[in-house]
Amino acid sequence: MMEGMKLQKEKLNDFLDGLRKEKYLFAPQKEGESLQFSPVSEESQVELDFQNTIIPPKNAVFPQTETLFTYQIGKLDIELPEEDRERVVLGIRPCDARAMEIIDRLFSWDEDDPYYFDKRNKAALIGLACLEPCINCFCTSFEDGGPASTAGLDVLMTAAEDIFILQPVTEKGEQLLSEQDLLETASDDEMKTVEKSHAEAAEKLQRKIDTEGIPQGLPGLWESPLWEKVSGSCLGCGICTYLCPTCHCFDIQDEVEGFDGRRCRMWDSCMFGEYTLHASGHNPRPTRRERTRNRINHKYAYFVDKFDVIACVGCGRCINYCPVNIDILNILAQVKEEL
């Protein structure tokens, strides 16, 4: 594997321009009030000084709304969207990259989802090591999680004083870096500093959960009064799921205007009442109790059962943004108590 490379911070914009030449570049930018991953253009102000974006980068490969095909009413053929371009996602946090690896498993479960993998296979992820984790981060609670974990990444980037260090992780990453001409080989000293900052970052994490036993124990708590207690204040909104980097549920709808129609899919949330509403009017998850139970079970039991990994990466978003302070670590702690 190629050695660590360095990039002078002042050359960042030129570096981005280089990446952008042939590829779609997604990087964190201010959109209105909030920072999110969106395509970089000439005028974009890329921001790399942040804890984490509010909206996770999953939209770079799994957009919130995506056209599957378009059609004309009364005609028999459909038109598929154009194939997507190669893309680079720069500045993604290690937890979010791990999350992408996790949802890959879902989208390739029985058959590969062509829409998802069209983007995913063409995406190179340049991660940004998380040197100042937020108070509710708990990524180190998971095997291969951590503020500088390389899981899912093609390149790991770390900010040092006036340089960025870029370490290729996969062949794709190596290829990508070798195409760039602004990089220089980093010295051993520089690499050591970076390693040290990674270790220090891991120390800064304040929250942790020992997941031992949770996946096996959750099914036994199906009827526990716990669920009623933890869901009492839930508003049934979509914040926790929309902001979660591993939540991947979608709905498919036809949208027609005049004679033009399209079938599209859009993020959906298991916390919404209509999510499980049957056409008959019956709803197997009629209250917020069942929905909350499902959210926790899906992440910490069903997903483990099917795909052998917990579908939670510890990014802390659902804790940070829940308007009524429903705290997944608190729920899990209560689960553990009941085991």
């Binding site: 009030e33 909030s34 204040s233 508003l235 049934g236 914040i239 308007p323």
Partner: protein, 327 residues
């Protein structure tokens, strides 16, 4: 003055009654400056209740949020009262629910907490970042005092209160069965300065302002769900037949969503500011609400959530309502 002893004792007395299901109040959250809604059904659960400048949530929303499942055959429906702790603004939601008959007066027991303004947690977290340890706060004259791990910090109210509190005209509950402590003196007045500022701009400038905001909306529906006045069982925005607003997230549908939300709250919004507080992408929803509030007050001389005997604004009319714009 806030008297937590009294608050907890009152709550205990209330939940001990046979005709009360539970009391909804606030308790210390799991970290930092967060407070969470607390449902106490037993006297010992009432010990966790609290009241402080951090108690932002408008709990009146829980009066209508609970799903109404069919009562199993042979069982009696639960007709016990729900007791609710309210600040001034929250109490207006109760009144408005009574006006709309979304609630019966016998169905709720209102415990009033005169309030001196609650904080905007986003502002506080900016001011004191990275505090994980649960922190507390209390009012002291014109200051709010935060008890942080490294000692107490006094901050002036202007710095940490949201706009709705700075302008608040009803800090004392307008309806209650029991008041926990003395009423406070109201401080606010409303001149709709920011609304007027935007009104003064050209249509293009106004659209430029809103376009950005609406396009960043995620349609998480948090603003709708948290709103105590949004309690339709079948929301027009969830309907598929007819589909008023497509589910896809783009500027057109998001605008349609926001127009529908704001319009449906015209003459009903009681300015509790919850919608704006919960929005993860900081869309200034109160600007839309306040614009309509202003029109409602100025044109129809109507204020929602004050008089339980009032008729809902859009279910009434005056033959001489203004119509200068009608051709």
């Amino acid at each position: 003055m806030v008297d937590l002893e009294k608050l907890r004792q009152t709550a205990k007395d209330i939940v001990s009654r046979d005709d009360v299901k539970h009391i909804i109040g606030w308790k210390q959250g799991t970290y930092g400056f967060r407070v969470e809604p607390h449902f106490a059904a037993e006297p010992d659960e009432a010990d966790a209740l609290t009241f402080s400048p951090l108690c932002t949530n408008n709990l009146a929303t829980y009066l209508t949020l609970a799903e109404k499942l069919p009562v199993p055959r042979g069982e009696e429906p639960d007709t016990r009262k729900v007791a609710l702790m309210v600040k001034g603004c929250d109490s207006r939601a109760v009144v408005q629910l009574l006006v709309e008959q979304g609630l019966t007066r016998e169905g709720v027991y209102v415990v009033g907490c005169p309030c001196s303004g609650v904080v905007d947690v986003k502002k506080v977290e900016k001011m004191f970042p990275d505090i994980l340890e649960p922190a507390q706060a209390y009012w002291k004259n014109d200051q709010i005092v935060f008890q942080l791990p490294d000692g107490e910090k006094e901050v002036s109210r202007e710095e940490v209160l949201p706009q709705k509190c700075l302008l608040c005209r009803y800090p004392n509950p307008v309806i209650y069965d029991e008041l926990l402590w003395d009423e406070v003196k109201a401080w606010g007045s409303e001149d709709y300065e920011d609304v007027k500022e935007l009104e003064a701009k050209s249509p293009e400038e106004r659209w430029d302002f809103w376009k950005d905001k609406f396009s960043s909306c995620l349609r998480c529906y948090s603003c709708r769900n948290v709103c105590p006045m949004c309690y339709c069982e079948d929301c027009v925005l969830d309907r598929l037949n007819p589909t008023w607003t497509f589910r896809s997230v783009n500027l057109s549908e998001n605008t349609s969503y926001h127009l529908a939300r704001a319009f449906h709250l015209a003459g009903r919004c009681i300015e509790c500011g919850e919608c704006e507080r919960v929005c993860p992408v900081d869309i200034p929803l109160m600007k839309l609400n306040r614009k309509l509030y202003k029109e409602v007050v100025e044109r129809f001389d109507y204020e929602p959530g004050i008089d339980p005997e009032a008729t809902p604004l859009q279910a009434s009319y005056r033959p001489d309502d203004e119509e200068d714009f009608i051709l």
